[in-house]
Amino acid sequence: MAEPLLKVENLYCERDERVLFEGLSFEVGAGEVLQIEGQNGSGKTTLLRILSGLSRNYEGDLYWRGEPMAEVVDEYRQALLYFGHLPGVKATLTPQENLGWYAALQPGTDTASIDMALRQVGLAGYEDVPCHMLSAGQHRRVSLARLYLSQAPLWILDEPFTAIDKKGVAQKEQLILRHAAAGGTVILTTHHELRLGGLRRLNLDQLAGTS
């Protein structure tokens, strides 16, 4: 395997006096899908927030394409799509306006692809409806449309399938597979049984601190 995209070395994190993980090391390369597993409270979301750069309450080293993270943080952000618990969708804006803002935040995004992305998630015809008038599932799909819009190689997805119907889940699985096949990398958590070939798993329960 070539140089790993993202490398994690000796990661340590504690929260509320509890060690979530200690000495956690792993790496992911291009074309890989890594599922983070663990019970509720095992630190899945915390790990994803650390990997994305949102949370800084940890010790240990992160490397992006072999460089220490602190030195390449701008390149890293350009290559990252983070999909968290919070939808990141403004209720008073329309889906189109919401995605337009994401296009401005991520340089190199093609604004012409916004309509295409909305069609892909089944929101054609709702482009100009303020998001607070959409259903919860549709709201979620506005957020998911970012996956179609993005050209980032690394996706970090925290429970991407909540509030999505069966058909939507299958569609998202296909999307993840396609992304990996095209040389992209996906790190995700989910309660769904994923039916993906070549899926790697990382279980946090076995890593939990001993102290």
Partner: protein, 255 residues
């Protein structure tokens, strides 16, 4: 602590030793008695000198002697803020836990010193100006400094996570540090606008040496006392934060 290998080369060794709470605990334990004795000697000697031997002021009589507490506490309240901001910045930039703890320990000390300076200022004001409070530029600046300290403390206590609290207060104290000169300047200007020529109390034209020498002793004594209190607070904080580490537990068992 950030284990960033790249900046380790140019930082001196002691800087990283300081970063270790255990090393810090040990070294402050050794320094404490020396500073304690020094503070005691200087404060006692300075007080006796100031109260019994220094000459009385020709205008204010004996009431001026309160400057031997007022001035040192005012000076220290200001230096303490600078120290808190610098420690906070070090903690923010190098993720150094001990610096965070120093910054946290500084805030209540600085607030008490500012309060002491205000109280002695008020007590001094009564015989001099005839009222407990006068909107004098220095007193007003000191009051605002106290507000800044209270803000820092309020923010620290509102955030549960120790690391986040330290980082947030560091940003706030740095913002305060940039603002202090602006505040001082603006308050002095406001004061000259609104209060025509009150005579300055602390900037006597040429205070005789037998008056300012005890003051110097008191200032140095206050610094030593501050160092002692800071180290005590810091050691407390180190033990609290590191209570689950093996060396603290060994320490607790050996007692």
């Amino acid at each position: 602590m950030a284990k960033n290998k790249t900046d380790k080369n140019w930082m001196p060794r002691w800087f990283y030793q300081l970063a270790s709470p255990r090393w810090c605990y040990d070294i402050t334990g050794k320094l404490l008695p020396a500073f304690g004795v020094l503070a005691l000697v200087l404060l006692l000697g300075g007080t006796v000198w100031a109260l019994l031997f220094a000459p009385a002021d020709y205008q204010q009589g004996n009431s001026f002697r309160i400057i031997y507490i007022h001035v040192p506490s005012a000076i220290l309240a200001q230096s303490c803020y600078i120290m808190m901001a610098i420690a906070g910045a070090i903690g923010l930039i190098w993720k150094m836990k001990v610096a965070d703890m120093v910054a946290k320990s500084c805030a209540p000390l600085g607030a008490s010193l500012a309060l002491l300076a205000l109280a002695t200022g008020a007590i001094w004001g009564k015989p001099t100006w005839g009222s407990w409070w006068v909107w004098d530029a220095r007193l007003t600046s000191m009051l605002i400094l106290l507000f800044l300290y209270l803000g820092v403390m309020a923010l620290h206590s509102a955030i549960e996570n120790d690391t986040t609290a330290a980082q947030s207060t560091a940003v706030l104290s740095l913002v305060g540090l940039v603002n202090i000169p602006i505040i001082k300047y603006s308050v002095e200007w406001w004061n000259t606008l609104h209060q025509p020529a009150t005579f300055k109390l602390t900037e006597k034209p040429a205070m005789p040496p037998e008056m300012w020498l005890p003051l110097l002793v008191m200032v140095v004594g206050f610094y030593c006392f501050f160092a002692v209190s800071l180290m005590l607070r810091l050691r407390n904080e180190i033990l609290r934060r590191e209570r689950r580490s093996s060396w603290v537990q060994a320490l607790a068992e050996s007692r």
